[in-house]
Symmetry: C2
Subunit: 237 residues, 2 copies
DNA sequence: GCCCACTACGTACGGTGTACGTAACTAGGA
DNA sequence: TCCTAGTTACGTACACCGTACGTAGTGGGC
């Protein structure tokens, strides 16, 4: 019975403290906080083992005592942000509760814009993910359906919110990080898109673009998306 | 009027050939194909400027003549995969057509598993994205709604499909890349999750897990998600 | 009290994106 | 027609990355 293969355990299954040897200087929460701070201030690309260790005040390689791979650091970060969800006593109106959950998720993702890039393997059952999911299920108690279906609802909601916010943030980033004025950028885009669309190969896209002139109501579009989604589950219960 | 700032143009707005100087040795399509091949064979992490250049058969820095930043290389890859969508004459049944579109997207993402990680800034209006969107809108002609709403439908569908496939692939990856047997892994997970859930803090999660024993019908769940989504738009048209 | 697992951390290696400089080439204007 | 300026091609170099490995010190279990 050789010693287990080196790495691939889920980090949440590994105990934070084993009882032997010196006391660890930091908790997992400390590390997550430091990593989140680095990401908030410098973007996800600033999250390197060196930077996080420096933020924490320890040597680079010491981090590896807590976090076997960088990927696990990401997992800690996602869990930490998940912990920012403020939960409440379910109201009895599952639509209202789920709307509130989704709105809160959107707010969290705006607060931590790097989150959309870490959402690929959604819900690895970290502690805060469990807490969050349990709360969602509690909110959905009034809905007469199997748990499988409720999980599906939560999954779809999260998928849509994530992709919505990702688009939202990408658009914001594009206009913010620009060395030229917004008008000039807009002109460039119009020149390109307009040029392509004027070709006549994509008449419906052209119509879609002329349909909505002026700034888009992002909040309204989000609400609308939400209602659609909730409709889908209200209908067939 | 100083020369424009260095980089941040959208790559699709930059002409592939300017007319001056020697003929480029490769086309954008060549580069996209090479990068996709590297990603398919070695995963997204294998996509480095060096590897792609080697696959292409040129020096590393020559790539930068075609692709100003690595991010643009990703954009080329996403566009190339978008080109794999096989389009058809709309049938007149928008639900059937959109179902087919979504199923095709899922197939593409299984063929190129790295795609789910590149979908954050969905649809930067690359050529094949335009082609794809125009096709979706054509399929939605029978649906009596504004283009804004149809775009919303396409966006939500893509968001859900992406997040669904991402979860699907993450689960598959987890069981595949394992040094231990699937049973042993399962045992570890059960030990962790079971341990947490047995605590009684998450009764609904525990119930959800006991509800569905045995393997999950991934195709069925996908279809189910799709129908939900289409229902939502059929309802309020 | 001893042992050994554990923490801490410096060094080092192979890899990354890309700024910069140089040489060859070719289309447009004289 | 030739010149020149913009482009392609690509090697070198730099700062930074994840992390394997070795060493030293610490403190709980036998």
């Amino acid at each position: 019975m050789a010693g287990r293969a080196a790495v691939p355990e889920v980090i949440w299954a590994r105990p934070e403290r084993t009882g032997r040897g010196p006391r660890p200087a930091y908790t997992r929460a400390d590390i997550a906080t430091a990593a989140v701070k680095v990401a908030d201030e410098g973007g996800l690309d600033a999250v390197s083992m060196r930077h996080v260790a420096a933020e924490l005040g320890c040597g680079t390689m010491s981090l590896y005592n807590y976090v076997p791979r960088k990927e696990d650091l990401y997992e800690l970060m996602v869990d930490a942000v998940g912990g920012e969800h403020e939960l409440w006593e379910p109201s009895g109106d599952w639509r209202a509760d789920m709307r509130r959950v989704a709105q809160q998720t959107r707010v969290l993702m705006h607060r931590h814009p790097w989150m959309t890039r870490l959402m690929s393997p959604v819900y690895g059952f970290s502690p805060n993910a469990l807490r969050y999911l349990e709360h969602c299920l509690a909110c959905l108690d009034p809905l007469d359906a199997r748990y499988g279906m409720k999980m599906q609802l939560v999954g779809m909601l999260n998928g849509c919110v994530t992709s919505y916010v990702a688009t939202e943030l990408a658009a914001a980033e594009r206009t913010r990080s620009l060395p030229w004025s917004a008008e000039e950028e807009s002109a460039v885009r119009v020149a390109y898109l307009g040029g392509v669309l004027a070709g006549g190969a994509y008449p419906r896209m052209a119509a879609a673009f002329t349909e909505t002139s002026g700034p888009i109501d992002l909040d309204g579009a989000f609400e609308s998306m939400l209602e659609r989604m909730l409709d889908a589950f209200a209908q067939r219960g």
